[in-house]
């Protein structure tokens, strides 16, 4: 499997072809629609990411030293962003997840989603992914 930065670079290249914001968001919406469904039993309170305007659930499992993430949101653009995060981070070892520099978010022009406002939970989402990975690393 490709490493985190290789996948980030792929995504940056994919987004490079969009010169109109609409195309970029349509792609995100499409990714959101295609995000594999999270198992219903994982959509519980403890898996909710705090501070998001939409509800975001994130579930993580450690198998053979790799973390598998599944997630869902009731906002489709948010779901598209999660799909990208999962593509970059799911299947990676916990230590690399918790140390990853997620530069692709700025590069593809989703930087505004990183601002720590109360309406926006990407910062919290990334934080939750990192702490979950870190917890899994320490438990095993």
């Amino acid at each position: 499997m490709a490493d985190i930065n290789q996948i980030q670079d792929e995504i940056i290249e994919e987004f490079g072809i969009f010169d109109r914001w609409m195309d970029k968001y349509e792609y995100l919406i499409d990714l959101g629609k295609k995000l594999p469904l999270i198992d219903r039993r994982y959509k519980h309170e403890e898996n909710l990411v705090p501070g998001c305007q939409s509800r975001v659930w994130l579930h993580a499992e450690l198998t053979a030293g790799k973390v598998r993430f599944t997630a869902d949101s009731d906002a489709i653009i948010t779901k598209g962003i999660i799909a990208l995060l999962i593509r970059v981070l799911s299947g990676q070892p916990p230590q690399q997840i918790s140390q990853a520099d997620l530069y692709f978010i700025k590069e593809i022009g989703l930087r505004e989603h990183l601002s720590p406002t109360r309406s926006n939970g990407l910062v919290n989402m990334v934080a939750k992914i990192r702490t979950t990975a870190e917890t899994l690393r320490q438990c095993h």
């Binding site: 914001w21 609409m22 968001y25 349509e26 919406i29 305007q53 939409s54 509800r55 009731d74 906002a75 489709i76 653009i77 948010t78 309406s119």
Partner: protein, 419 residues
């Protein structure tokens, strides 16, 4: 200090012309995401006219010093400007006295002041405070906190599906243990204009005082605290085209005199010894510490600007925008307006089919259109409607029909992308 205020109704007004008004707000000339800014988030905060920006800038360049204590020229001039602003604001809401107008940090701070000071003194175990389902968290949480401290209870006026208070239940809630009614003048989430005259009259029949949260009212209609006979009236400066971090609590002199200070410190004292401290008179008793001087003076400038126009003309203009926007949005497939009270201010909350308001707001933002999305700090109200939140367009005097056209086109664009 005791300044009796003249009613400002007779002052000369200039004709309201939205094209001229727009030119006075420099931020409206800018672009966002490559599109001309369409600012429809006035319920959260309004933009500032040149008159306010220039006043704030001039104050710092020419006038600044601490107030109420210096004998030197700048201190006296700043004090005069600050107290002039208080007088201007007092006239604006037609307070009887300038010392009934307290400077606070905003509506939230004003309500917390009343909750802590009035509630701390007059609420006892078993007493009740009445609020409503549609309150902003600022008019819920301070009461929950003081009620928990004092062993008092909150009673909630329910609403109907249109977002109007159930006045029959309200009457039945008013009882022997009711100590205060605290409710919205205008709902920030729904736009509902509550029947405040009747709310106050019914409460006063039982000698119960009333606090109105006027945050969403003062920039949209004429508010006359004497005509309303309201006991406390809270609002924010920044929603009234003034600076952030400053607001007003109007309180009837008799209540304010009867209430203990809220915070201790400088300015609010008469004499301090380690054995006993005596307090200053109104309004200073409630204004501990160096205040937001420029905020107060800037708010005075904002009120001067706003009162150049006839409040009725502004209200009529905003009603036109509201009706036009309601018609334009309702024509869009899957549109659901949340809040359909008969008597509404220029606020439209909406949901587009089963899309999340966050998605709609994000797409509108790409088009340069600023709306608010989320629960609008009214979670119990959202629970009542069983929705996570809404997208909300809230209009001000500088909005016109072209803003509504942009909004409608933007929502249609969002629909084509999301549905």
């Amino acid at each position: 200090m005791s300044i009796n205020l003249q009613n400002p109704q007779n002052s000369r007004k200039i004709a309201f012309d939205v094209a001229q008004v727009r030119k006075q707000f420099p931020i409206l000339q800018r672009q966002v995401n490559g599109n001309p800014l369409v600012y429809l988030d006035n319920g959260a905060s309004a933009q500032k006219p040149h008159a306010v920006i220039d006043c704030v800038s001039r104050y710092y360049r020419e006038q600044h010093a601490n107030i109420h204590r210096g004998v030197h020229h700048l201190s006296q001039s700043a004090t005069q400007a600050y107290e002039d602003a208080r007088e201007t604001i007092g006239k604006f809401i037609n307070a009887r006295h300038a010392h009934e107008v307290l400077f606070t940090r905003g509506t939230t701070d004003s309500i917390n002041l009343v909750a802590a000071s009035f509630g701390g003194k007059f609420l006892n175990a078993g007493d009740e405070v009445i609020i409503s389902t549609m309150e902003h968290h600022s008019n819920i949480v301070p009461w929950q906190m003081i009620c928990a401290q004092r062993g008092a209870a909150l009673k909630i006026i329910p609403i109907n599906a249109a977002g109007e208070l159930d006045m029959d239940v309200y009457q039945s809630l008013l009882g022997a243990r009711t100590r205060l009614v605290a409710t919205l003048h205008v709902s920030n989430s729904l736009g509902t204009i509550n029947p405040v005259e009747r709310i106050i009259a019914l409460a006063h029949d039982r000698d119960v005082p009333v606090l109105l949260d006027g945050a969403q009212a003062v920039a949209h209609m004429r508010v006359d605290v004497q005509a309303l006979d309201v006991d406390f009236y809270a609002f924010s400066g920044h929603k009234l085209f003034g600076p952030t971090g400053v607001g007003i609590l109007y309180g009837k002199e008799a209540w304010l005199n009867d209430m203990p200070p809220y915070q201790g410190g400088g300015d609010m004292i008469e004499k301090v010894t380690f054995e006993k401290t005596t307090y200053n008179t109104l309004p200073h008793k409630f204004e501990a510490g160096t205040p937001n001087i420029v905020g107060g003076i800037g708010l005075g400038a904002a009120v001067d600007y706003f009162t150049r126009f006839d409040a009725q003309e502004i209200a009529a203009h905003e009603q036109d925008i509201l009706h036009y926007a309601t018609a334009r949005l309702t024509a869009i497939d899957g549109m659901k307006i949340i809040g359909t009270a008969k008597n509404k201010a220029s606020v439209i909350s909406f949901l587009l089919a089963d899309t999340h308001p966050f998605d709609v707001g994000t797409i509108l933002d790409q088009l340069g259109i600023a709306v608010r999305t989320g629960h609008h700090c009214t979670q119990p109200l959202m629970d009542f409607y069983r929705i996570p939140g809404t997208a909300r367009a809230s209009f001000a005097l500088y909005n016109d029909r072209s803003d509504v056209d942009a909004l409608a086109a933007g929502v249609e664009r969002a629909a084509s992308m999301l549905l």
